[in-house]
Amino acid sequence: MSLNLLYSMREGIVGLKRARMASVITVSTIAITMTLLGLFLILTFNIQGIAQSFRNKMTFEVFIDNSLESTDIQLLEKNIIDLEGVEDVTFISKEEALERYRRDFENDPLEIVGYNPLPPSFQVKLKQDYRYPERAEDVVRKTEALEGVDKVVYHENLFRLVYRYSRIVILVDVALFLTVLLAAILLVANTLRLTILSQRKTIQIMELVGATEGFIRRPYLIQGMLQGGIGGGIGSFIVLIIVQGVSLRFPDFLRVTIPMLLFPLALGLALGFIGAAIGLGRFLKTA
């Protein structure tokens, strides 16, 4: 490691102590914003998951002509799978349909009509890109045209409703997340700028004695990353505690991964670096 870099690192660390009050304010600001963002990310991820699970339920049923032989049924299944936009096809036999009916309606058609009137069917799941009303309807039309299909049951209104509301939820959530992220970036950049401004004299003297711009920048960038890292680390820790608290009370309520917990720390580090670079850039131009 070069002496210059060692010096920059030492200055970066010592600088935190020199501008103690400004550093405490910056680290606290970053810790609070990163905690909020970390929680928001987990919330966003879970909301997206719920919206996605609703969309995953957007399937349609294809009732098969009762007279179809099993080889013809297999052929029809292959034809449906081959349709563009179909992800998966599940066969529901007459017996299985009867079982489901008994379970769902708590009565037995065999006792009422004396035979199993329920036709075999396929439950068709669409690919991710086709879970939109227009594209889904196109697949439904193509399925209806296939030989051996008796009827296609597609809950158009429900489909449209789920699509519309899940889209609104996702859009609002993403917009809110981006707004909070932008506010965090501006807040951190400005707070770091204040820290740098408090060390204006040091920077001016560095310029006077002939320090290169890179040499002047390095300690402040390291300082920014340290402040961002400490603030972000505190944010990650607080998020972990909150998540554990929620999970103890409501098990399986939140889905949380390690990258989500590390997000405040990583973002803090990045914001610390970027914020210091922006603050320094503005300052060096006016120094």
């Binding site: 003297i205 310029e207 004695v209 002939g210």
Partner: protein, 216 residues
């Protein structure tokens, strides 16, 4: 060493300097004398290449203000020592660190830094106060730290902007004595001051400035 030829400097239509011609040869002591606001500090800032002249030529050693590249300015400044009326010292560091700072900032190895700092502190008579904090020093001592810092990188010229402006008569004498000694060792000095009586006591050529123009 330093040559200003027909230098003009304007800011937003206001004429700050006009027709300035100054030359400082190696080992020479030149004083720019004039009242406050006459443009003395502007001349020093032009020589330090903090800004470019609107017209004319500012040449310091091999560097021409009109053609010098932005990236070369830090290298240039390492060879031009500067001393200010308000010292511009780092209050949160001790004497040693303030002088060493100029060497650290220019990438001098640690072993050489220690040796050089002790050398320049001895030169300005502050060896015994090397670990004192800046706020513990008198005005004269603070100015001597500034001079030590300016000398640390072995510059070929020393720019002094009102170096005795904040000092009492006795301390002023001390600093003038120090500057004379430094000049006696062969270093060129370009000093700006508003004190007429001061320059009479110096072995210096005098350039008089009034309202941005040379009067003598």
């Amino acid at each position: 060493m330093i040559r200003l030829s027909d230098v003009w400097y304007m800011v937003g239509g206001n004429q700050i300097l006009s027709e300035i011609n100054i030359q400082v040869k190696a080992g020479e002591f030149v004083c720019i004398v004039g009242p406050s606001g006459a443009g003395k500090s502007t001349i020093l800032r032009l020589v330090h290449m903090e800004m470019s002249p609107t017209r004319g030529q500012v040449i310091v050693a091999d560097y021409d203000a009109r053609t010098v590249h932005k990236h070369d300015i830090p290298l240039f400044r390492r060879k031009v020592g500067v001393v200010f009326q308000d010292f511009k010292l780092l209050e949160d560091r001790d004497v040693y660190e303030n002088v060493a700072f100029a060497l650290w900032a220019t990438g001098v190895p640690r072993r050489r830094i220690k040796k050089r700092v002790f050398q320049v502190l001895a030169e300005v008579g502050l060896s015994h106060k090397r670990y004192a904090m800046i706020y513990e020093l008198s005005g004269g001592e603070q100015q001597r730290v500034t001079i030590a810092r300016a000398l640390a990188n072995e510059p070929y010229v020393l720019l002094a902007d009102e170096p005795t402006g904040n000092l009492d008569p006795e301390t002023t004498e001390e600093i003038l004595g120090l500057l004379k000694r430094i000049n006696g060792k062969g270093m060129a000095i370009l000093m700006a001051t508003h004190k007429e009586d001061l320059v009479r006591r110096l072995p210096a050529s005098v350039v008089r400035i009034r309202q941005g123009r040379m009067v003598e």
